[in-house]
Symmetry: C2
Subunit: 162 residues, 2 copies
């Protein structure tokens, strides 16, 4: 892992790319916030889960919130940074639905309509996640993209040869 391309994808994966981390965020986002729920729903070994939770709390993606004093009990809640990973989860899910589970999706997400609210017209409907460019509003296509590494010594395809 030394000397690899400097990149926010790698940085993000270093934080949440280990096995189970993203599944933990999925569960928390679904409302399963307690240790034993996380064990059951992710299938992670208890010790691994404990390690992951420690890291996610340190990184401020989750926080421990007490829900009982005596006996001391707490649950894990997503922070703002944690919630902002939800688009990643939705995009992963959309890919898996399309390419791995075509025709029998294990889960469907309902998107509440915004009737009466600013810009809203449609009622409740199924969520279909799509990545667009916030600047121009258009769907993102590979052929419209050009990468510009900002770090000296790197080009799009590798380290500049010295």
């Amino acid at each position: 892992m030394k000397d690899a391309r400097p990149c926010s994808i790698a940085d993000t994966l270093a934080l949440v790319g280990e096995k189970y981390s993203l599944l933990v965020l999925r569960e928390v986002s679904l409302g399963a916030t307690r240790f034993d729920q996380l064990v059951r729903n992710t299938g992670a070994p208890r010790d691994v889960l404990a390690t992951r939770l420690k890291r996610l709390v340190e990184a401020d993606l989750l926080e421990k919130v007490a829900y009982s004093e005596r006996p001391p009990r707490h649950e894990y809640r997503a922070t703002r940074a944690g919630r902002e990973l939800e688009p990643v989860l939705l995009t992963l899910m959309a890919w898996g639905d399309r390419h791995l589970n075509e025709g029998d999706r294990p889960m469907v997400i309902e998107h509440a309509g915004r009737r009466g609210r600013p810009g809203g017209s449609l009622g409740d409907h199924e969520l279909v996640p799509l990545v667009v460019c916030a600047q121009c509003g258009e769907e993102v296509h590979h052929d419209d993209l050009t990468a510009h590494p900002q770090v000296p010594g790197w080009t799009a395809t590798g380290p500049a040869k010295t």
Copy 2:
């Protein structure tokens, strides 16, 4: 990992969630398609990379394309399914840029304007990936979402108790 919640996120991660797999797809998408480039740019040990590549080719996310007969040489190219993971990479990158590398992004993606093309008005600009709902066009907010597990025995927060 046994008995965990059935879910396309988990299924997708089972395929591309191992260390380096997504970095390989990043590199291929950037145009670094050869074994030694992938070693240098991802930092993966050579044997691990060989294993990952084998899996990605089997899963039809990458394909081996010969670019020389004698000596036999080939490069790895993304298939359609592989390219469709790009939104995941872009979303991960956006998160890392915001939360890990605020103020000095290691890479900037330029988005080609579609002046003159259908719906286009803006010139070239920086890509800012955003997840919206394809049905209604609106940005996705956690509070508008409701998950509906399709698999009997599971609720949003865990297995239905028997």
